[in-house]
């Protein structure tokens, strides 16, 4: 289905959910309608975006304070005609983004990764823990204000200080 069809379909079921349409396969959703619209995208027989390919989080600290700090991009795939849809959501530092792990199982780890590396929290996630770093790791490495060389990189690292889940 092309972008026009997707937009008109979504407008019918969730009016006002779409904030902006950009390019051939990208829509931006409003924060408040996000969860419902995502459910529709998955459930609706004609849309049928049944695979969540990936979640990308971008730290837009350079565009603050004009816009929210984070951009989340959900990459969806329809298994019928293999069409891709990018769903964008702007999230502030204090926003709790509704989890979509109950809709797509793949969101479980994807959201954990975003939480771990970017520090965005998801409400309704069953198991929101760090995934690539360890339990008592400080900071979120992919944020732009996290130094590349890490914190205290010049000091001897005590491996016994790592707490595992």
């Amino acid at each position: 289905m092309d972008i026009k069809g997707i937009v008109s379909r979504l407008e019918k079921t969730d009016p006002g959910a779409i904030d902006r349409v950009s390019g051939e396969n990208e829509i931006t959703l409003n924060f408040n309608d996000f969860n419902k619209a995502m459910q529709t995208l998955h459930d609706d027989k004609s849309l049928c975006f049944d695979m969540l390919v990936d979640i990308v989080a971008i730290d837009r600290i350079d565009r603050m304070p004009q816009s929210h700090r984070f951009d989340l991009v959900y990459i969806l795939l329809c298994s019928k005609d293999f069409s891709r849809l990018l769903v964008r959501l702007a999230a502030g530092e204090d926003n709790e983004v509704p989890s979509v792990s109950s809709i797509w199982a793949s969101a479980d780890w994807a959201e954990r990764e975003v939480y771990d590396l970017m520090g965005i929290t998801f409400s309704g996630h069953p198991n929101l823990r760090r995934i690539l770093t360890w339990k008592n790791f400080e900071g979120h490495p992919l944020r732009k204000d996290f130094p590349l060389e890490g914190k205290d990189f010049d000091q001897q690292f005590d491996t016994t200080s790592i707490e595992d889940y």
Binding site: I58, S79, W104, A105, S106, A110, P141, L148
Partner: protein, 390 residues
């Protein structure tokens, strides 16, 4: 037998059958797995963060080290994504060479899979044959790129060098030889009683579940979904070639095995077509903003010299936009989400790693099976930790 009381067993991170530093905590009721929790991150190198500090050319070696078992296929993903970002059309000859390298890498990755997977389940013989043939591909890599495992042969805008006569000869030799070798693998496994008993009906996953869990590549196709990016979103001239997407039915370990075995054959078919129809022409675009001037002209031409310096010390500039581009890696949909900001460095590079989602589906695949089958299942989804942890 007294049910209800369970034992927790820790597999990995240093376990030969987890194919890297994957750790799975399994809870056993007798021999049956009732709960499985994978832990990852032991190989986390921060490749996405590192890429933000490199220029677009410099980040290519980082992509080699994602799924290091099939390095060129990752190059393909990264370079085509950057080219999409910059709006570059790569010359036909380079596209064909890239296809050859990527398909050879796929075969290399599958070699590692078949060898270790069979070894894990107890079929010792296959790995020796698989590694014998893998060695031939490494020699081809060495011939054209100088490196064997991680050739870093791709460049933004093309490939690093043109072919050598030896390269063509070696690829042709391999294309001629490999179907025979593949037949050998089949002889050893496909109808082997022990092999079929250990794999048939083990770890099945339905198409719906596989899609929901984000499985891609051979593991998804084993469940009967014919999703292959080479066909769904063709790139690098894949629509020039005649090949099929093998699919399974039941989505169990055996079906995934069969899919990969057929992929060997299809990849050889693609390589054969590509090497025989290799177009003439340059192997990289000629753009003053992307490619290096040749070494002769920099000695006489100040503009070429200056540009060469800028390209080496700063690198090509990426425009201020975002793209998602995915290719069919050896393990599935390998995607790169690139955010450019008008500088020489990507503002953000996100790797959509197929193995990450394959590993995330492990609990669902393992529960209800015997502990011995866990080895078969982990082997069948073919994860490489370099790509999971990045």
């Amino acid at each position: 037998m007294a049910e209800g009381k369970t034992i927790t067993l820790n597999m990995g991170p240093h376990h030969p059958a987890t194919h890297g530093v994957l750790r799975v905590e399994v809870e056993l009721d007798g021999e049956i797995i009732v709960k499985a929790t994978p832990y990852i991150g032991y190989l986390h190198r921060g490749i996405e963060k590192l890429a933000e500090s490199k220029n677009y050319q410099q980040a290519i070696p980082l992509s080699d080290r994602l799924d290091y078992a099939s390095a060129s296929a990752n190059n393909m993903g990264y370079c085509t994504a950057v080219e999409k970002l910059m709006g570059i059309e790569v010359p036909k000859r380079a596209q064909y060479l890239r296809v050859i390298m990527a398909e050879l890498a796929r075969i290399m990755g599958h070699h590692l899979w078949i060898g270790t997977h069979a070894l894990d389940i107890g079929a010792m013989t296959v790995i020796f044959y698989a590694f014998r043939d893998r060695e031939m591909i490494m020699d081809i890599n060495e011939e054209i790129a100088g490196y064997r495992l991680t050739p870093t042969f791709f460049r933004i805008g093309g490939v690093a060098a043109d072919t050598t006569p030896d390269f063509i000869k070696k690829v042709r030799e391999f294309v001629k030889w490999f179907p025979k070798a593949l037949q050998g693998y089949h002889t050893l496994l496909t109808e082997n009683k022990i092999w079929t008993t250990r794999t048939m009906g083990i770890g099945p996953i339905s198409a719906k579940d596989a899609i929901n869990a984000g499985l891609t590549g051979p593991s998804l196709r084993g469940s009967g979904v014919a999703y292959d990016i080479r066909k769904a979103f063709p790139y690098s001239s894949y629509d020039d070639f005649d090949f099929k997407i093998p699919v399974g039915e039941k989505g169990d370990v055996y079906d995934r095995y069969l899919v990969r075995m057929e992929e060997f054959a299809q990849s050889i078919k693609i390589i054969d077509q590509a090497i025989e129809n290799l177009p003439e022409g340059p192997v990289a675009i000629d753009s003053p903003w992307i490619t290096n001037p040749d070494l002769v002209s920099v000695q006489t031409d100040i503009s070429e010299l200056a540009r060469r310096f800028v390209l080496h010390t700063k690198g090509p500039v990426g425009p201020d936009k975002e793209v998602y581009h995915a290719v069919e890696g050896a393990k599935g949909e390998l995607g790169f989400y690139l955010v450019g900001d008008g500088t020489e460095h990507p503002f953000r590079m996100k790797v959509r790693s197929p193995c990450f989602y394959l590993a995330s589906a492990l609990p669902r695949l393992l529960v209800g099976h015997m502990i011995a089958d866990a080895i078969a299942i982990i082997g069948s989804i073919d994860v490489v930790l370099g790509e999971i942890d990045r």
